[in-house]
């Protein structure tokens, strides 16, 4: 922890009211990490502004003092995107928590960035509308954070990611200038900066207002749970369903370890002897659903599924999802620590990748529970370890890195929905070439020439890749010497 320049500190105090600035070490500790708790740093200061004007003044002050700024929503991110800097200001947007407008005619909601994802759907519900992207942390995570990370969720196969559902942003640049990006119409003149802002992990600007599109709530939804005695058959079934022309609202897969953990935790009747289960949700009218369910059952049987169960009412549907949605905490009971990965692969490589993840698990002698957004090829292998035992943490991180390299090797990506943050900064060197990283840095400089917004995250410096590159190529088996990662 570093102490702030007195002039900077007094500037901040003149902008913020009482109780809006955190300076004491013990209170600062509450902000030392986000959902990636292995990476902790105590910030220099935490500001909790309440108005856009305050955000503008704070950024101007940081700009003139060259103080780096890290934005934070609810701190539920899993890649360390909101990990503070010891010489930086942590800008919490928690107090930007008002829903400004629900416009049913234009099917949109305008909200402040600190509004929780689920709160938008709750506010839209009286109009028969909802906000589709539903990251599993949706009861806690904020829409500002969702935009910063371009969050996904169970339903993005059918309804898209955050980037497909955001219409307009009000953004404050590092020099305090306000920009309107996107519009209340379906497009805006000039370059599509909305595409850039979604998933920019707080490196380009501070979001102070978000307008999202809303969708009509589907009249009916049903879940089919299918069990398999071979996980590769489940992977084949996923391929079969997508190829049939049906786009399910959600298509999830869990392997045996994840099934047992979830069943033990929430008791929803998962078949604990199955090698894998698929959860396939269909939504729409009753007519559509009964038609599609028949076809899906056929496909499942052709792929040697051993049993199916179809939710007969909403309660049962929620119950079947409860196991999947609590998979992370459930797995968390199996070992003192777990490390959640987030690679994406082309769906047709799923059976092969499953097999190779199993081999890596044996090689590193660490158990892996697999939970997938199978419909869109997004894997969440959960590596179980005990940080207090020998080199297990180190092995877990190395195993995780190997899994991400495998994802890139089969044509996928190192992060499907959790973001790069500080966590996967090294794996970015595997996915991108130097010229591409340079282009990313040039984009960043167009928004933030002095590199004050969330520096050190999302895009690695080239020299860092050069050092790591040598290590990957020549001594692939060696553990990372990057001490700051632990």
């Amino acid at each position: 922890m570093k102490s702030a320049d007195p002039q900077f500190l007094s500037g901040l105090k003149s902008i913020l009211g009482d109780g809006s600035l955190v300076e004491e070490r013990e209170e600062l500790r509450a902000y030392e990490c986000d959902g990636l708790s292995a990476h902790r740093t105590i910030p220099m200061l935490v500001a909790l502004p309440e108005t856009t004007a305050q955000v503008q003044q704070i950024l101007k002050l940081c700009y003139s003092h060259r103080v780096p700024v890290v934005a934070r929503g609810a701190g539920t991110g899993l890649s360390g995107g909101a990990q503070p800097l010891e010489d930086g200001l942590l800008l919490s947007l928690a107090r930007f928590n008002r829903i400004l407008a629900i416009d049913p005619d234009n099917r949109s909601a305008t909200v402040q960035p600190g509004v929780r994802n689920l709160a938008i759907s709750e506010a839209a519900k009286p109009h028969g509308l909802y906000y589709a992207p539903d990251p599993s942390s949706q009861i806690a995570c904020t829409i500002g954070g969702n935009v910063a990370e371009n969050s996904g969720g169970v339903h993005c196969l059918k309804y898209g990611l955050t980037v497909h559902n955001v219409r307009k942003l009000r953004v404050i640049c590092i020099d305090g200038e306000e920009l309107i990006i996107g519009s209340d119409a379906l497009d805006a003149p000039g370059y599509d900066l909305l595409a850039l802002m979604n998933g920019s992990e707080g490196l380009l600007g501070i979001i102070v207002e978000v307008t999202v599109g809303l969708l009509p709530i589907p009249p009916t939804a049903k879940v089919i749970m299918a069990a398999f005695s071979d996980a590769e058959d489940a992977g084949e079934a996923v391929k079969g369903i997508i190829a049939s022309g049906i786009i399910p609202a959600g298509l999830e897969m869990m392997d045996n370890l994840a099934i047992r953990a979830a069943e033990d935790f929430v008791h929803v009747g998962y078949p604990t002897d199955a090698a894998a289960i698929l959860l396939c949700e269909l939504d729409g009218t009753d007519e559509e659903i009964s038609h599609d369910i028949g076809r899906i059952e056929q496909i499942l049987l052709q792929r040697r599924c051993t049993s199916t169960r179809i939710s007969s009412n909403d309660e049962e549907r929620m119950q079947l999802w409860a196991g999947r949605k609590s998979a992370f905490p459930a797995v968390g009971r199996l070992a003192p620590d777990y490390y959640c990965m987030d690679g994406t692969i082309p769906r047709h490589r799923l059976p092969e990748v499953l097999r190779r993840v199993g081999e890596l698990s044996r090689q590193y002698q660490l158990a892996i529970a697999n939970v997938f957004h199978a419909g869109d090829g997004n894997l969440h292998p959960l590596i179980l370890y005990d940080a207090n035992k020998g080199d297990q943490l180190q092995r877990a991180e190395e195993l995780g890195s190997r899994i991400l390299q495998l994802c890139v090797e089969v044509g996928g990506t190192i992060t499907g929905e959790h973001g790069v943050g500080s966590e996967k900064i090294d794996e970015m060197c595997v996915q991108f070439k130097a010229l591409e990283l340079q282009q990313f840095h040039a984009i960043k400089a167009a928004f933030d020439e002095h590199g004050l917004l969330n520096p050190g995250k999302a895009v690695p410096e080239l020299h860092r890749c050069a050092e790591l590159g040598a290590m990957h190529v020549h001594n692939g088996e060696l553990p990372f010497p990057e001490l700051e990662r632990f």
Binding site: N106, S108, N150, S183, D184, A188, P189, G190, T285, Q439
Partner: protein, 345 residues
Amino acid sequence: MSLQQQIIEACASMTPLSIRGGDSKSFLGNPVSGQSLSTAEHRGVINYQPAELIMTARSGTPLHEIKEILMNQHQQLAFEPPSYGDKATIGGTFACGLSGPSRPWKGSARDAVLGCTIINGRGEQLHFGGEVIKNVAGYDASRLMVGAFGTLGVIMDISFRVVPVPAAQTTLSFSATASQAVTNVVSWSQQPLPITAAAWHDGELSVRLSGAAAAVRAARLQLGGEVSRSGDFWQQLREQQLAFFQTDKPLWRLSLPMAANQLEIPAEQLIEWGGAQRWLTTDAQPQAIRQAAAAAGGHATCYRNAQGVERFTPLPKPMLALQQRLKQAFDPKGILNPGRIYPEL
């Protein structure tokens, strides 16, 4: 000489390049004077996996070829891009970022993009995104290329999502005034109905339903109206072949919030996208049209027959400055389609 080599040389000699695919949309935006750079020979589908719902194609691949290949697998592009003739290429389609009648319900050209390879103004070949649906590694530079008219990079190949052709489709028509038409579609769009297009012109509202046969049937019963219009109507609308578009007057495209009130501009009007895209043929003052569009929360583009008019709505100063810096970041010498969108980009 390869495209990359041509760009490297143009960069070295600071020669502006006028990028062309099939030359089908050169009427859009400002004319570019420069050495011609043609992607037409850079063609072919690189990867098509019907079961994955993705395709990767070289930029010069004709759009009609892609549509045929998809149709053979009973698939299509969700955003129904216009071709404006038979020469359109897939690269040009994404570079111009145009979306057809399904846009408000099925997403835009940009929404379909998964990744691309470009050559920037320094002649560097760069790859962004990929062939997977979920990918948040690095800035989303591939979707940034959509609608950039090649001014940030020449698209070499592009990966995009495709969708199954709906099992059933029908078009209903209703007689309505313009404002009734918008009110109706706005209200229907708040219900879970399989609407995939809605257009109004000359007292008639047409609504297309697509999806599972049962859902289309149920919606037809609920909405009433008359089953009419062949599917050709939507194609002619998309391709601007309807009589409405056959004029020498300036054709304006207004992009507005769907439920926006009727603008008080003397014009012939055709409403698309349930109200979110409104075409005007009019001699009204550009300034008046732009002001009215802005007041309604949208913007106006002079689409065809523009004379001495800035084609796209001018950007506010700080936004223009940012976009200039972004242009610089990709094309420091300003050789890629300079001025196509704005003189400053």
